[in-house]
Symmetry: D2
Subunit: 279 residues, 4 copies
Amino acid sequence: MNKETKTTPYPLVAHTSMTQATRIKVSGVTIGGDNFTIMAGPCAVESRNQLKSIAEAVHKAGAKILRGGAYKPRTSPYSFQGLEEEGLKYLKEISEELNMPVVSEIMDVRYIPQMLEHVDILQVGARNMQNFTLLKELGLIRKPVLLKRGVGAKIDELLGAAEYILKGGNKDVILCERGIRTFEDTTRATLDISAVPILKKLTHLPVIVDPSHATGQSDIVPALALAACAVGADGIIVEVHDNPAQALCDGSQALSPEDLEILIVKLKGIAEVIGKKFN
Amino acid sequence: MNKETKTTPYPLVAHTSMTQATRIKVSGVTIGGDNFTIMAGPCAVESRNQLKSIAEAVHKAGAKILRGGAYKPRTSPYSFQGLEEEGLKYLKEISEELNMPVVSEIMDVRYIPQMLEHVDILQVGARNMQNFTLLKELGLIRKPVLLKRGVGAKIDELLGAAEYILKGGNKDVILCERGIRTFEDTTRATLDISAVPILKKLTHLPVIVDPSHATGQSDIVPALALAACAVGADGIIVEVHDNPAQALCDGSQALSPEDLEILIVKLKGIAEVIGKKFN
Amino acid sequence: MNKETKTTPYPLVAHTSMTQATRIKVSGVTIGGDNFTIMAGPCAVESRNQLKSIAEAVHKAGAKILRGGAYKPRTSPYSFQGLEEEGLKYLKEISEELNMPVVSEIMDVRYIPQMLEHVDILQVGARNMQNFTLLKELGLIRKPVLLKRGVGAKIDELLGAAEYILKGGNKDVILCERGIRTFEDTTRATLDISAVPILKKLTHLPVIVDPSHATGQSDIVPALALAACAVGADGIIVEVHDNPAQALCDGSQALSPEDLEILIVKLKGIAEVIGKKFN
Amino acid sequence: MNKETKTTPYPLVAHTSMTQATRIKVSGVTIGGDNFTIMAGPCAVESRNQLKSIAEAVHKAGAKILRGGAYKPRTSPYSFQGLEEEGLKYLKEISEELNMPVVSEIMDVRYIPQMLEHVDILQVGARNMQNFTLLKELGLIRKPVLLKRGVGAKIDELLGAAEYILKGGNKDVILCERGIRTFEDTTRATLDISAVPILKKLTHLPVIVDPSHATGQSDIVPALALAACAVGADGIIVEVHDNPAQALCDGSQALSPEDLEILIVKLKGIAEVIGKKFN
């Protein structure tokens, strides 16, 4: 007999563990339930000015949460690795100036105290989705975690990774579909749009979509953002840059602030059709 | 020097070959351009009564084109293979009764005369997407062809397959995204929703989505149909059965006629938001 | 109740249907059982001289079966489509001159009589693996069929496709693993080497490997051919060209005749280690 | 202009950076070059007795390096997580008793000192292949690192991950192909056997294969191990258990010690054919 536990692999994450969908409140913004939330900002924080300019633009366009990477996981060690602690400080300052909560990626358990001080939502990137020692520590904190699906991860594995966090006591986990690796190579990854309704059947946690990393092409990002809203996601996280050609990271997938404004008008229309509120 | 042709692999299919999007007219229904079209019906024609009952229901719900398989490609030779010519006759009769054009799958060049007599749109299934002798013959006919993407086919190969048909002189090809094979196994296939805007950039041909085969699960089909509309598809082809548990083929992915009615109300809302007309 | 047949999907193909592995005899060459067989030749027949020169070289190197395409399935309709009937005639003539049986691809049911007259083994290409009308007709002939796995086909589907042929009465089917579509793009496809022992567990039919199409790179073809032998395959089918840079089709994956000679020496060594006879 | 570095993404890892293949010496065993090395042992250390018994058996069979997990990354937080520090102590003790170096997985930077004290080779698991903060720290140590390819990782990403380690100053990295995620589900993963010769073209680092995790089925592990040797790998890492049915982790993929003995006899034969020495 194999002695491994035979119970449901993710009892706390499972839909049956809650009577209603989880709603996560962060500085006045509620994620989940009937709400559709826009998280937007640059791929990487490049300077205080760059961040401030983009943050003001996405705030004006209607985004409620500011995204921006201070620590950047990069395939090559010679690529820009982020402004690190300096970047976190800019995020904190501009978050306070605009009264707009901030999400940023945590790459290692050792940075948790620093992150807790500067950001409102800690993002676990696709490459760290099964960094179980990190997940266990994030179960002990009291700030929300945005957990991205790995490019080679099955839905069951994403739910198992979330269970590590909930098991530690942190109930505030947001799941994020950001594209999986497939043979199709006209896009950077293949957005698994079906994952959204499948996850909604399996878990009470909010589910958002990242159309920027899924495609790597800014001109099709708006169409995918609309699809994400129509399919029932609780929000999107999207990269915006005011000068994509000069971006230090992933410029080709960034929307302009003007693109974002036009997109949000349509998103509001679709949210209304399917019965979501825009926050 | 390699002596193969070095020109664009699909010059006739390419966006640049036309000044505007291709519109395909079939018995009063226009597919493509600003129109959003619903094709619906059973996976397989099982009997005259079954087909009639479902056809009336989908017609009433707002579908404009009736789908139904007379020849069924099945993984196992012991599975139901379709009513064959008898099925085609029922399709023809009910099409005329309801004044509703019909799409059905062609599995071999030898059936072309029979198909031309009974159906309005000839469907090439995913398994035959690169049956080049069939594609060449379909280039010579004067009825529209609905070309489904193979589960292992890249977008470039879908366009190359369409080029075989256009090269023969038949300009009326409708492309169909129906899911690709990936490692994710909670769904039957992975709907490559990004393929829709990518195809729209590359070709002037109409692009529709098949959410039924992509997922294999009727309860998430409506969400994917809404996503298909939001992302910019020109229509959907969806399986409907009035008694899914008794279906001879793919019952688990069939919507009920009531599901379809509710879905179409929402689709109309989304079509309006993104500037499509509902036909 | 779903009325589909609930029996094993491939009873004739299943290992349990036979007391021993199927051996297929073709003009004095036995494929399957303890035998390891080399099939080699050009991707496409380009001219009588080209075919003769390559055929003599592979025959001298130790190949027992000559391969060569007369009808070529190509992604683009503008690529070289093969010499067609002329190519078949050259195959027949040179086969007789060298007393070496020939395998060539059948693309449509209409060509069956022609193929039966000219070739010894009829190959079904990866793109036609689920062309069920073709498979049914090939069940009625009395020559062996080489059935290639589709790039998006699961192992169960390959076995289901073979069942279509056996069900018709033709017991002589050779299965061929030739690589599947995955996210890895340094090779043309990903050779699923595990498919060989998996198939050996599930079926009594011979299983060979095509390392040329799997990789698309001639310099790693020999290593994969050795792996195919070590893993237990019953043979390989490999592309050879005496002037790869001038090849009308897939030159980049062709071995030179000298490469083949060196490869066969090593294959004989490995065959001996694992208890296979070299024929 | 994008300001990212435009140089080769992995200059230190690239084949061109060295005049010959890297050889890694660990306690008298040389990995790489002409040597073929067997690493074997249980998936997880379960007790001192279990480890000792299996270690003695694999040592007797001819394995040169002992594998065994003390910290286990598991999809579910409710699965056995390993004996942790206790497991490391057993590895150290038995390694000394048998004079057999040990490889074990490192899951977090915080465990590095502990690992350095107890094991000879630090393994980075597939899920941590792009845990860049871990990779950077491993660049600073002076023990070899066994870097497993992620199930969703391209070959370029594996090389990029290795570059993070070499850039820190640690030149002793062993790459390991252990299967990638594909649509084929008869095996746990799809062993990308082509990755071995491809990696050999691109890098001077040793490349080994893990047939146990690639397949998840002990009865086909030997065939894949033979293929790995034939294709040119520098060794294998294989799971062995003396009571697979009772294993706390992955019992279904473990060989028995007797299986390993029989396998090694054949591996020696194949190594000789392709010109490798057995160490």
